[in-house]
């Protein structure tokens, strides 16, 4: 049997409160990819991620993970394959960072089971990978935005899922933390994880992701290499801006310089 490892969306549409949010989205995510999901506000990026995480159900179309429809996955088994970091998570409960990361183990623990030494080791490792070990005993509510995002990424790792969905992981972070977080995400992909992240910064998206998916009014309007997706005519029709796309002479990174509103 050929198993199609990864996630496949076929003709996925989604209506919410009488409004069509996603229209016939086709998408295939293969193992080991780092995909940047871009598009203007309200394009449907967060909705797409929520559908993939089975938090909402598509109105039409199908989503399959490893060749099995999401409907057939229990939330528990899904969470072992798929981890999700929501956007701007409001956190008001004063748990310690270690406790927050341990919550990533939820899917792996049975109701009457206690966290084992192995779980503690996994948490330790996830915190080391995200350089958050020194924050273990601090309260999550007391951290800066950058520290918090790293702790939440550690929790996503503690979930030991193969595919990670991140919704605006770099929003509200300063440039230092943005690069720092994206470097960590990149190194996770090098270790074999698959990541899809919604991201607003087109320059960072082009630099880190090897594949960009451009969403506009609920449709995928471009999907492929950054230099193909980030073409001036796309930026004009989707974002309504005139932009200059250039390559950095030394690094070869693409940069997008918005010139004016089109």
């Amino acid at each position: 049997m050929i198993t199609n490892e990864g996630m496949t969306l076929k003709k996925v549409s989604f209506f919410r409160k009488g409004r069509s949010v996603l229209k016939a989205v086709d998408l295939k995510i293969k193992r080991g990819e780092l995909i940047g999901l871009i598009g203007p506000n309200g394009a449907g990026k967060s909705t797409l991620l929520k559908l993939m995480m089975k938090i909402w159900k598509p109105t039409e179309g199908s989503i399959t993970l490893n060749d099995k429809n999401l409907e057939e996955w229990t939330q528990n088994r899904l969470a072992k394959q798929l981890a999700y970091l929501p956007q701007n998570l409001m956190i008001e409960s004063a748990f310690s960072c270690k406790e927050v990361v341990m919550m990533g183990r939820y899917a792996h623990l049975k109701r009457f089971e206690r966290e084992s030494k192995e779980d503690a080791l996994i948490v330790q490792k996830a915190m080391a990978q995200t350089k958050t070990t020194q924050l273990s005993e601090r309260l999550i509510t007391e951290l800066s935005g950058g520290e918090r995002q790293r702790v939440l990424l550690a929790r996503t790792l503690a979930q030991e899922a193969k595919l990670i969905l991140l919704d605006e992981p770099t929003a509200n972070l300063d440039p230092h933390y943005q690069l720092d977080l994206l470097n960590r995400i990149e190194s996770l992909v090098e270790k074999g994880l698959t990541v899809m992240m919604a991201i607003h910064d087109l320059g960072l998206a082009a630099r880190y992701a090897r594949r960009l998916v451009l969403l506009h009014q609920g449709r995928i309007v471009a999907d492929g290499l950054p230099e193909v997706v980030l073409m001036p005519q796309h930026l004009k029709s989707v974002y309504g801006i005139e932009a200059e796309i250039s390559r950095h002479p030394k690094t070869g990174w693409l940069s997008v310089l918005p010139m004016k509103v089109a």
Binding site: M53, Q75, I91, F95, M103, Y106, R111, L139, T141, E142
Partner: protein
């Protein structure tokens, strides 16, 4: 939502290590039990009370006291004290559960309408004269009223298989108010002043005249429900930290967990209210006090709330029956009189407002 921040504890400063705090609460509860069992019209020395109580444990053998003292303790005072422990603990643990389930600091056993449902059907049992036939008819109708209201509220809030917690909360409050109005309407029609007094004391809450026969029945749902709730600590942590969506993404079958929590909490609330009448405040404030002390981790918060709620109600019930000689004060009023100032003190400790 700003009010939500009360769910956050006051930060690490002033926080106690949870296991130590639980040990402290256990000591406090034992102290309250001994104190309350010793105090009354006949004052019995604490040491003697402790001996008589410990004598009931296996492998413990004390002797040398008057039979009369043992009878007062074992048949009159102890069952009432233990019922106070269960009712106070049950209300507090279900309050803590509902606050996490709704992610709302205002949630308490009253919000899902369960208490009003219990009160209404209890009052119907009293005014219809049914409750005079057997001592269990009143608690049972209160209990059925509680569970019936839960299912009613749940059915109202469910659309196409989905039950949004915000809708459930609002439906619960609305149904609760509606039942309260029917209750007031019934009160205006009560024929005799005795019936009115009985209803009034039931609505104010109290444990007057409760004995082993009540305890035997109340203990099952309260203990089973509370124990079961404590197995959902991890789920409650997830729900309070980031709500339904986040909990689902971490692998929770959110809907079935929510339903389970509602049924268990209502079981405990229903049984508590059925045997004590409506006692406000315990379910709302005790979890907050405990959270301020040890933080939001439900693995400790639930058991600590149970112990603290139990201690509070034992203390309040002691005052209710001793403050004015040969008269019972309404228990529900006393819990608020003791608890509210203490809670406000905690909120303002170090000049720091948590709200």
């Amino acid at each position: 939502m700003k009010a939500n921040s009360v769910l956050r504890s006051a930060g690490q400063g002033g926080r106690f290590p949870a296991p130590g705090f639980i040990l402290l609460l256990m000591t406090l509860l034992s102290g309250c039990i001994v104190l309350a069992t010793a105090t009354g019209a006949v004052q019995i020395p604490y040491a003697l009370v402790t001996k008589i109580l410990l004598n009931r444990l296996p492998f413990v053998d004390f002797s040398g006291w008057e039979k009369a003292h043992e009878i007062i303790i074992m048949t009159i005072r102890l069952p009432r004290v233990l019922l106070a422990v269960l009712v106070g603990g049950g209300l507090a643990i279900s309050g803590a559960t509902l606050q996490a389930l709704f992610r709302n600091p205002m949630a308490d056993p009253g919000v899902i309408g369960v208490s009003s449902g219990a009160a209404l059907s209890a009052v119907i049992a009293i005014t219809s004269g049914l409750s005079f036939h057997h001592y269990l008819i009143l608690p049972f109708s209160a209990f059925l009223g509680a569970l019936g209201t839960l299912f009613l509220v749940y059915a109202i809030a469910t659309r196409q298989g989905r039950t949004p917690m915000a809708t459930l909360l609002l439906s619960g409050i609305a149904v609760g108010i509606f039942m309260g109005s029917i209750l007031s309407l019934i009160l205006t029609r009560v024929p005799s002043i005795e019936t009115f007094r009985e209803i009034f004391f039931w609505l104010m809450g109290g444990l007057d005249g409760r004995g082993w026969r009540h305890l035997q029945i109340a203990a099952w749902p309260i203990l089973i429900g509370s124990t079961a709730l404590s197995f959902f600590s991890r789920d409650l942590n997830l729900l309070i930290l980031e709500g339904e969506g986040g909990a689902a993404a971490l692998g929770m079958e959110v809907r079935s967990v929510q339903r389970m929590l509602l049924v268990l909490a209502s079981l405990v609330i229903g049984a508590s209210v059925a045997f004590s009448g409506t006692i406000p405040f315990v379910g709302l404030i005790v979890p907050h006090v405990v959270r301020l002390m040890i933080g939001p981790d439900h693995r400790y918060l639930l058991i600590a709330s149970f112990l603290a709620g139990g201690s509070l109600l034992v203390g309040a019930d002691l005052l209710a029956r001793t403050l004015v000689a040969s008269e019972e004060l309404p228990l529900g009023t006393l819990t608020s009189l003791i608890g509210v100032p203490f809670f406000l003190y905690l909120l303002n400790r170090d000049g720091r407002h948590v709200l």
